[in-house]
């Protein structure tokens, strides 16, 4: 098979879309940004199209810094503007912590819904919105992106890139959000494009093809803007792609570097793959990493080796699958790596957000891993400090000399089926965790579920699912259990847990108001006391939660927002 390489520029012809039913703009209107706005053709035809003019009205009443460019310096110093949420996890450290405290343990009970925005999308809505200077930017399924007035939820622009009928997303036509830098927002699409949109109009500024979607490449991740680069990782571990992390020039879309997460011939780690298995080795990079300005390192996690549930044919550790990579931001060169699950056969992607924590004078990075262990690593050296189970695990009873849990001999899938905990969905998964520096606790959504793994060998065929074994819920009568857990990263111990009615896919937010926010599978959005785990407030949103919450403020008022069902909800005090 040939592995796609290089990028093809697709100059501005992309499907810059209007809301359904909007007519194509005139040929001459294919220009970008402000010019496009100035040449709005045929007024009557476009009346129904939600477009940027509302923005102008909004701006005249808006406070202070509206419209300043989102510079790298602003992203670096995001703690100075807690009213804004400018990256997927709220800041470069991945803490998903808001220092807003207007909503707090004493008044959370009074919270009310302020607005709801219906995206019109179906399936799982996994987006985390960004908010900058009163404008909320978010995504939805099927290559949608939009900007809303963060006070009212009213749309300012909407974009949708027409989706090919034969795309190959692993697990739903989902997207987890945007990055913002300068006057642009950045979107990865299900058909493997990286697209820059004008932040004020949603017009396509540049559009590049990172890889061929027909061979199973796609983007679901929220990109991360660092310096003048847009960093993004590919999905496709279920299709035998060769994973990579790309960095694009935010101004032009030119690709500045690509780090293949599976080393090629002659590269260090190549010998951890049997024969040609590296060519279809997987190790996708489908969740957003973090950035440490002090050492200029990007920390990006990687997913399962392919085929995801069968080790036969790819003997070896299969680097750099299921690893945390420390990459130099400018060059994309790797400083160190840490592999959580070697030679994985249970689909335990290590793609959970790696959270930068400073505790006890140590520079740490922590990850609640899908394999059921909570890892704390020295982020300067990549050396493991501790690994403790935070959920039901049966696959490892021992640790190696570095302290890394190692699999038991009988943990592999078998012909007749073998039960392993956690199951293929993991103790946690893509749901974003949070670290509250005030409480000193790491909060994560967890589940106890065991699966039977049964071999089902498949040959590799480009663009086809490539699992290698099947998994089913275990026959044990015990139902699956879902939790919100508070972990002390210093001891690795679970300090409190809240058991949900059923497992949830919601991420978690913590705030300086002493609150932790998360959602449940039954559609509730819940405020917890960060210290005790006691629910203080809830609201029934009418749709299951697959997204992570975030917080922002406009006009001095704090809001907490989350996606549920097909909609985005914003909550605040009355």
């Amino acid at each position: 098979m040939s592995i796609p390489d290089g990028i093809a520029h697709q100059p501005r012809s992309g499907d810059r879309l209007r809301p359904t039913g909007c007519p194509e703009p005139a040929e001459g209107a294919q220009a970008v940004g402000q010019r496009q706005k100035a040449r709005q053709p045929r007024r009557g035809e476009r009346d129904n199209c939600v477009r940027a003019f509302a923005l102008l009205c909004l701006l005249s009443t808006a406070p202070s810094v509206i419209h300043a460019q989102v510079t790298f310096e602003r992203l670096l110093n995001s703690s100075k503007e807690p009213q804004n949420w400018m990256t997927y996890s709220g800041d470069y450290s991945g803490k998903r912590f808001s220092s807003l405290d207007q909503i707090n343990t004493t008044n959370a009970r009074a919270m009310v819904a302020k607005w709801v925005y219906q995206t019109g999308a179906t399936g799982k809505l996994e987006t985390t919105p960004l908010v900058v200077d009163g404008i909320l930017y978010a995504t939805a399924q099927d290559n949608r992106a939009f900007a809303l007035d963060a006070r009212t939820g009213r749309p300012i622009w909407m974009y949708q890139r027409q989706i090919p009928g034969d795309i190959r997303p692993c697990c739903g036509r989902v997207n987890r959000g945007l990055a913002i830098l300068g006057d642009k927002v950045f979107l990865g699409t299900l058909d493997a494009h990286v697209i820059a949109l004008d932040a004020k109009t949603g017009s396509v500024v540049w559009d590049v093809i990172a890889a061929d979607y027909r061979t199973g490449h796609s983007f679901t991740v929220a990109p991360l803007a660092v310096k003048d680069l847009v960093v993004i990782g590919v999905s496709g571990g279920e299709y035998g792609v060769r994973g990579f992390i790309d960095a694009y020039d935010a101004a032009t879309g030119e690709r500045k570097w690509r780090f293949y997460t599976v080393p090629g011939p002659g590269e260090v780690g190549h010998d951890t793959w049997e024969g040609d298995s590296w060519k279809v080795g997987g190790a996708p990079a489908w969740n957003t990493g973090t950035y440490d300005p002090a050492t200029n390192q990007i920390f990006w996690p990687t997913g399962n080796p392919a085929p995801s549930n069968r080790g036969e044919g790819r003997a070896g550790d299969n680097l750099y699958s299921n690893s945390l990579l420390a990459l130099n931001a400018e060059s994309g060169k790797m400083n160190w790596y840490f592999q959580f699950t070697k030679h994985d056969e249970h689909d335990w992607d290590a793609t959970q957000v790696p959270v930068i924590i400073d505790a006890g004078g140590k520079h740490l990075i922590a990850q609640a891993n899908r394999n059921g262990f909570f890892y704390v690593i020295d982020r300067t050296t990549g050396k493991l400090i501790s690994a403790n189970a935070y959920g039901k695990t049966t696959w490892s009873d021992a640790k190696d000399s570095e302290g890394r849990p190692v699999p038991n001999k009988n943990a592999s899938p078998t012909q007749e089926g073998h039960t392993v905990c956690p199951g293929a969905l993991g103790t946690t998964n893509f749901m974003a965790p949070t670290y509250d520096p005030q409480a000193g606790l790491f909060y994560v959504t967890a589940r106890d579920q065991c699966d039977i793994f049964s071999t089902a060998p498949q040959p590799y065929e480009a663009g086809h699912a490539f699992y290698g074994s099947a998994y089913f819920p275990s026959e044990e009568a015990e139902p699956y259990r879902g939790f919100l857990k508070a972990i002390d990263p210093v001891t690795g111990q679970v300090k409190w847990k809240f058991e949900h009615t059923s497992p949830t896919w919601s991420g978690v937010l913590s705030t300086a108001g002493g609150l932790v926010f998360s959602g449940d599978a039954e559609g509730n959005f819940i405020a917890f006391d960060a210290a005790s785990g006691k629910p203080l407030w809830h609201f029934q949103m009418g749709g299951a939660v697959y997204a992570a919450p975030m917080a922002f403020a406009v006009d001095g008022k704090e809001y907490v927002a989350i996606a549920a069902g097909s909609a985005i909800y914003a909550f605040g005090l009355p």
């Binding site: 799982k124 190959r168 692993c170 697990c171 065929e461 089913f472 009568a477 039954e522 629910p535």
Partner: protein
């Protein structure tokens, strides 16, 4: 360069095309066969080109595990929500062509989805579907499964001495506390039905399924104490972190907020009594299974 990779268009291909496109048959013969297939029209669509091929059955077994076994069980003998496919007589399909249609398009009104709609990419190729059909055929029991009991007598027992209809409804007749059973005989194996009568708590039945929720509600037993000192016993119709909807043994529905209750106890001990052989003989139970099967496979 990246756009040169030809993705094999799969969904659009006819079964015959698909199978032959992977073979090494010269193009001319390929075309002749295609024309021949086209001339025969529906004949080609109904015939499994892989019928009886042991290698295809093996490949089909693995495809079955990955795509079907979650509901239909390893070995195709039925699972928590899919019927036993090893029965020679199936409710929705007779020919291989029917089966191909059902796998491709799903069955409206049931949990059976159409191929490629689970959000996981483009679904199975036509060839893979035929492999699965070949596998299923290889697993079928040779003789049609004939009910071992007497359906007429089973009906009398169901509505009479065995008391099933106090809690279960069939075709609009019976009680509401337990699962409705009209189609159970078509979707569950004899062994599964017998087990759920003899050991009702081993696997609780599934109730309400919400579109965006991962798990259906189970028929859990529940006992609550209300603020005004009443005790309510019943089964959960639905539940979330803050509220619960209960049907009590008198078929009254209670909607309750958990934080207003004095006590809330759930149990995985089914509200259905355990029918041992002392209460219901093996023969009586076979008669009831025969009745359920006769209704469920109608």
């Amino acid at each position: 360069m990246s756009q040169k990779q030809p993705g094999r268009p799969k969904v659009q291909e006819s079964p015959a095309q698909n199978v032959f496109s992977r073979s090494r048959i010269p193009l001319v013969i390929h075309l002749v066969i295609l024309l021949f297939s086209a001339a025969l029209g529906s004949y080609a669509d109904d015939r499994n080109p892989l019928a009886g091929d042991a290698k295809a059955a093996k490949a089909g077994e693995y495809e079955f595990r990955i795509n079907c076994a979650l509901c239909h069980g390893l070995g195709a003998r039925g699972g928590g929500r899919g019927p036993d496919l090893t029965r020679a007589v199936k409710k929705h399909t007779h020919s291989d062509g029917d089966m191909f249609q059902v796998i491709s398009n799903g069955i409206p009104g049931t949990a059976m989805p159409s191929n490629g709609t689970n959000g996981q990419g483009v679904g199975m190729t036509d060839e893979e579907i035929w492999q699965i059909i070949t596998y299923i055929r290889s697993q079928e029991v040779k003789a049609p499964a004939r009910p071992m009991g007497n359906a007429a007598r089973g009906k009398d027992l169901f509505y009479g001495d065995a008391n099933c209809s106090l809690c279960h409804m069939i075709d609009g007749k019976g009680g509401r506390l337990g699962p409705e059973l009209t189609s159970v005989g078509g979707s569950r194996t004899r062994e599964a039905i017998i087990d759920s009568v003899r050991n009702p708590s081993r696997r609780l039945a599934w109730g309400l399924t919400e579109a965006t929720k991962e798990f259906p509600q189970e028929y859990e037993s529940v006992t609550v104490g209300t603020a005004d000192g009443k005790e309510i016993k019943g089964v959960t119709l639905n539940e979330d972190n803050f509220s619960v909807q209960i049907m009590d043994s008198g078929e009254q529905i209670h909607s309750l907020e958990k934080d207003k209750l004095r006590s809330f106890r759930k149990s995985r001990e089914s509200a259905m009594p355990k029918y041992g052989v002392d209460v219901l003989s093996d023969k009586d139970l076979e008669d009831i299974v025969a009745f359920l099967t006769s209704v469920g496979t109608k």
